[in-house]
């Protein structure tokens, strides 16, 4: 238990100490929120879909949680290169606990970053339908964070160099974002695209966040979203733990 806690604490400390980077990491979400939010607003409105800012804000929150949590998992690569990973791997602590501590820490950091973006959204003019919905929104954020922190750990366990990292970012993480319905509604899509979006775990997270926060008609429904995310979280945690246990240095 102590080992899980201290590794969790390490992730959180590293996050809170990198203030400059926290500010820097707000850049991309802000771009999506403001440029797309206000730029696509009129078109979106004319198509009869209401306010685009209101639509895209949950997507941007989901995106922030996705990127931060995947990145925290992939940071394994840095720990491997800078040597700290060895220190934890030879410690008399079952690797599963090390993996859980790291993953929960990464998920917590992603939640913090997501909360920050949530506040930024509110400042930009985003209005959640009611206050009661906010706790449930945090449940969704937590599920997205755990799913993708575990996903990042599973991937980071096998990464040896930077080239691999870029490959993962471009061919896995960005598609997960763009296919999740964060930026456009997942309704009336061509068959193939619709099928792919349903295989994307983030689709359920964004759908859940959006439904809870804006009261919009949901694609899957809260129950399906919660169930799908929970199942994926369990599967990825098991897979991530297995991959982590196989690490050799």
């Amino acid at each position: 238990m102590h080992a899980i806690f201290i590794l969790w604490l390490r992730e959180v400390k590293k996050y809170t100490r990198s203030r400059a980077q926290i500010v820097a990491s707000l850049g991309q979400p802000l771009l999506y929120l403001l440029v797309l939010g206000f730029g696509l607003g009129p078109v979106f409105q004319q198509a009869g879909n209401g306010s685009y800012l209101q639509f895209v804000a949950p997507g941007v929150i989901g995106m922030t949680v996705l990127f931060t949590s995947v990145f925290s998992g992939i940071a394994l690569l840095f720990d491997r290169q800078f040597g700290f990973l060895k220190e934890t791997l030879v410690a008399p602590v079952p690797r599963i606990r090390i993996m859980i501590g790291r993953t929960l820490g990464g998920a917590t950091v992603a939640m913090l970053q997501g909360t920050l973006i949530f506040l930024v959204c509110v400042i930009a003019g985003f209005r959640p339908v009611n206050l009661i919905s906010i706790p449930l929104a945090f449940v969704f954020m937590a599920l997205i964070a755990i799913v993708f922190a575990a996903f990042g750990t599973a991937i980071g366990s096998g990464l040896q160099d930077m080239q691999g990292f870029q490959l993962i970012m471009n061919f896995l993480v960005l598609p997960i974002f763009f296919l999740s319905g964060a930026l456009y509604p997942l309704t009336n899509l061509p068959m193939v695209l619709a099928a792919i979006t349903r295989a994307d775990p983030l689709s359920y997270g964004v759908d859940g966040l959006r439904g809870v926060l804006t009261g919009r008609l949901m694609v899957f429904g809260t129950g399906t979203d919660l169930l799908a995310l929970s199942l994926i979280a369990v599967a990825l945690l098991v897979f991530g733990a297995w991959r982590f246990s196989k690490i050799e240095i």
Partner: protein, 262 residues
């Protein structure tokens, strides 16, 4: 305490450790000497559960690192050859983390951390993040951390690399004290022959993945008709200089990491 039989480790294109066998009894200080790339670190990695051997048997205190990794990890402590600190944490936090991972009770770990930080003259910098430390300070902190808990077996992989004579002296004094007072078995590698001469009870010389000689410093000198251990070492391993594959990726990565969050 440590038993290695017919140990082999093959990587894709070469054999790093080729049929190595040796035994280290409890309470012995055992030095593993060899030129760069001889297979010292690879052997340590296999003993410490970081790598799986291609073939052969390993035993630490009667336990198999492959089948009982968690039990084996309870037995040893290690100071790595290359850095293994977290640069974003302070010196005190690095020690605290280590103490927690090694189940050192809170009171003991605070006391020992203070004692060790003072011993290695890092106490007044204990709340500085490690990335601001000089190379020598980082090295001292790694060593202090290695002594935070008292294991049954202590692995020291080129521990004195980049240390000043004062710290080196502290290190070996401490190692000898642990060995004599608490019967800690020590397995060390070094490039400094006089250190091996000073502390090691027995020495194995490894070259190209094979053990070429094993015995006390005196035995090795007699066998090769040499004046010093250094001459004996050269007689056993030749005078050609070996290349080690460099870890070139790390620098590039460090730059990249700074661009991102960490």
């Amino acid at each position: 305490m440590i038993r290695v039989e017919n140990l082999v480790k093959k990587f894709a294109d070469f054999t790093a450790v080729n049929d190595v066998s040796f035994e280290v009894p409890k309470g012995e200080i055992f030095a593993f000497l060899g030129p760069n790339g001889a297979g010292k670190t690879t052997t340590i990695k296999m003993l410490t559960t970081l790598l799986s051997p291609t073939s052969g048997t390993l035993e630490l205190n009667g336990l198999d690192p492959m089948r009982q990794p968690n039990e084996v990890r309870q037995q040893f402590g290690i100071v790595f050859q290359d850095p293994s600190l977290d640069g974003d944490l302070t010196a005190a936090e690095n020690l605290e983390l280590h103490g927690v991972l090694y189940h050192v009770p809170r009171k003991v770990r605070r006391e020992r951390a203070e004692m060790l930080l003072k011993l290695f003259e890092l106490w007044d910098r204990k709340d500085t993040v490690v990335k601001k430390f000089s190379g020598g300070m980082k090295r001292r902190l790694e060593i202090a951390r290695g002594f935070l808990h008292t294991p049954k077996i202590l692995f020291l992989d080129e521990p004195t690399l980049g240390l000043d004579p004062q710290s080196r002296n502290q290190l070996w004094t401490h190692v000898k004290r642990l060995n004599e007072a608490e019967q800690v078995t020590v397995f060390l590698t070094t490039h400094y022959m006089e250190e091996a001469d000073r502390v090691a009870h027995r020495i194995a010389v490894i070259d190209h993945g094979k053990i070429v000689a094993i015995g006390t410093s005196q035995e090795l000198r007699q066998r090769t008709n040499s004046e010093s251990l250094e001459d004996a070492f050269l007689a056993l391993t030749g005078t050609t200089i070996r290349d080690e594959t460099a870890n070139s990726g790390a620098d590039q990565l460090r730059q990249f990491a700074q661009m991102w969050r960490r």
